[in-house]
Symmetry: C2
Subunit: 379 residues, 2 copies
């Protein structure tokens, strides 16, 4: 019987104490043999996504980070953020949304056994660990030729980008706006839109970011720091007819500016004056929080508008399972093209606890992305 279960393994843990201290550590955890419908995956690659950082570092101030024995990383959580942390205080939490690795043990079900020795991708938390038990039905076998690094980011970014286009279709819009558009996710969205013929208006914050997108074929790329930004945005919205935006930034005026420019573009084509503005529904979804400050809306967009939160998990729960499976299959089929991810650094579990390394991956710089390889740097 092929059982590669080592019996125990290291798992990264994040804890915030009621005394206001963050503590990131490696815990040695027992690994039970997989149930009949489960597989045990040796994790070989797991990305650090912005959505992981919230749980990993909480609201801690990394300028106070220190290394301690264990190894451990500790840092102070400023008092004003402790209320937001109330739900997780004094609970040691595993981290890591997604990743890929080799199936080293499998339950007795045929579907589980068929995966033994295969390279698979998975999602579900606790992937910053040497081993992770998953349902056989939930893993995605990687296509031939793909490495664990190729498959590490199979879920969050690809499905989020596909989810944006699916939401656009489901809610009756015909073109999209996207902010922080030069991100890994933004590049995937641009590639999907080019392939599917969906007009996309990209908003970035520097000429360098703009170049990343024009290099892969983007036609509408606007720099929000340019003095004529709102006028050019209105032109692009008029041209594309985009009435749905996805905003990764959240704070500040941008979401409201997008709604206002959508309204101005619609009014260029309007007939009779209506004091309630255009009757066409304009929508922006905030799906990230690069700016955690307040969102400010100057309500210059009539009465037919919406702003809201958007989360991949909720989206996947809402659509039929067969549709979700179709999206996952598309990710596997286009893993080396549309959904290719690039990493600027690969680190081991222990390195993730180094204050200098933590400061680097916490910067969320466009074009920089860290990959945790739990097989690296451990005896």
């Amino acid at each position: 019987m092929a059982n590669g279960n080592p019996g125990s393994g290291l798992q990264l843990r994040s804890l915030i104490t009621s005394a206001g201290e963050l503590e990131v550590s490696l815990a040695k955890v027992d690994i039970p043999d997989p149930a009949p419908d489960e597989v045990l995956v040796r994790v070989e690659a797991s990305p650090i996504n912005p959505s992981d950082l919230g749980l990993l570092l909480g609201a801690a101030d990394l300028s106070t980070a220190k290394a301690a024995d264990g190894p451990r990383l500790t840092a102070k959580v400023p008092q004003q953020f402790m209320r937001a942390m109330a739900g997780r205080l004094d609970q040691s939490m595993p981290v890591g949304n997604e990743g890929a690795g080799t199936v080293v043990a499998a339950g007795s079900d045929a579907a589980a056994q068929a995966l033994l020795g295969k390279l698979v991708a998975g999602i579900g938390g606790a992937m910053y660990a040497q081993y992770r038990t998953l349902k056989a039905a939930d893993v995605l076998p990687l296509p031939p030729g793909a490495t664990a690094a190729d498959g590490a980011s199979c879920f969050v970014n690809p499905l989020t980008a596909l989810g944006m286009v699916a939401t656009m279709r489901a809610e009756g819009h015909k073109a999209l706006v996207h902010t922080a558009a030069a991100s890994n996710l933004g590049q995937m969205l641009q590639k999907i839109c080019l392939k599917d013929g969906v007009p996309l208006v990209n908003i970035v914050r520097s000429p360098e970011q703009a170049k990343i997108l024009t290099d892969i074929g983007a036609t509408h790329v606007l720099d929000s720091t340019a003095p004529d930004f709102v006028a050019r945005l209105t032109d692009a919205l008029d041209e594309t007819g985009a009435t749905l935006g996805f905003d990764a930034i959240g704070g500040g005026k941008l979401a409201g500016q997008i709604l206002g420019a959508m309204e101005a573009a619609l009014n260029r084509k309007a007939g009779a004056y209506s004091r309630y503005g255009s009757a066409t529904h304009k929508q922006v979804y905030i799906y990230g929080g690069l700016d955690t400050g307040p969102t400010e809306l100057v309500r210059s967009f009539g009465m037919s508008w919406g702003l809201g939160g958007w989360l991949l998990t909720y989206f996947l729960m809402k659509i039929p399972p067969a549709e979700a499976q179709k999206l996952r299959q598309r990710v596997a089929d286009e893993l080396k093209t549309t959904f290719a991810s690039h990493y600027t650094a690969e680190i081991g579990l222990a390195e993730a606890l180094d204050p200098k390394v933590a400061a680097a991956y916490n910067r969320k710089t466009t074009g920089e992305k860290y990959l945790i390889n739990p097989t690296k740097g451990l005896a």
Copy 2:
């Protein structure tokens, strides 16, 4: 043949010139005989709703208002608001959403003829006039004993209040929050909620406003100027389970505070910690703009939330005609109870152009409401 068509009549008009001047005047307009499916109504009562003031006075600064011959009222529109007026410049526009009066002429259709001499209510703009032609199918015959003043506000406030409760049911919520809750509309909403057993959390801005609501049986009335407002709001939301709010104010922090308090109330009952907040959808609709300043959202309410515009017209377009008819019938049935309106002043068409009177009805003071009676003060 009973034809009470006088052939012409006065109609109030609002004009904003590209030179930045508001001009409100009375125009003498021709009145054609009604088509077979139409009736001609002699308007006897038409309220000045906040939703009328936007069209009537635009963005004009009433401290610059002057009376002129005609009669006319003129006032300056500050330069910074002229962009928002672009769609209506140099167009003379009739005003007045709704009103009631007597059918003095009717088309040849039996349904129109049946209304002759009856007191009816109508909606559709241009009600600040001596006469208004309407489709027979669109008017609401008033119940016996009701006066034109009783029926003047049959549509906007009653249907908006009923629309809020209908929206709550359609979107799967079980209780409501309402701001500026001591308004005429807010009192109607409270009466509906008491009758229908819907928990309602009222938010007001003074103890006097609170008393208006407790006097009609409200149990949850919060003063947003109180130092413990957010804590008490959270308690009320916890108790009622309200996850839908309607906000008449729009600007400032209140809409965001409501979403934040909904989240805090939900988290009191939450199980395991989720970094994305409660999965329960929290929604606030902005349906008015008592504060036209920016809306500020401190996003402390997870990822499952929405903020949007809400307009009676769009709501009525979305629901089946039979359902809309049921709502209208309920208004007629409960005209003297649930949907009773009180007016603090009745003015004629010419008085509406007096700068002092205009300043008074433009104050939008809670408990004050003006009624235009076009039969008053004209030879």
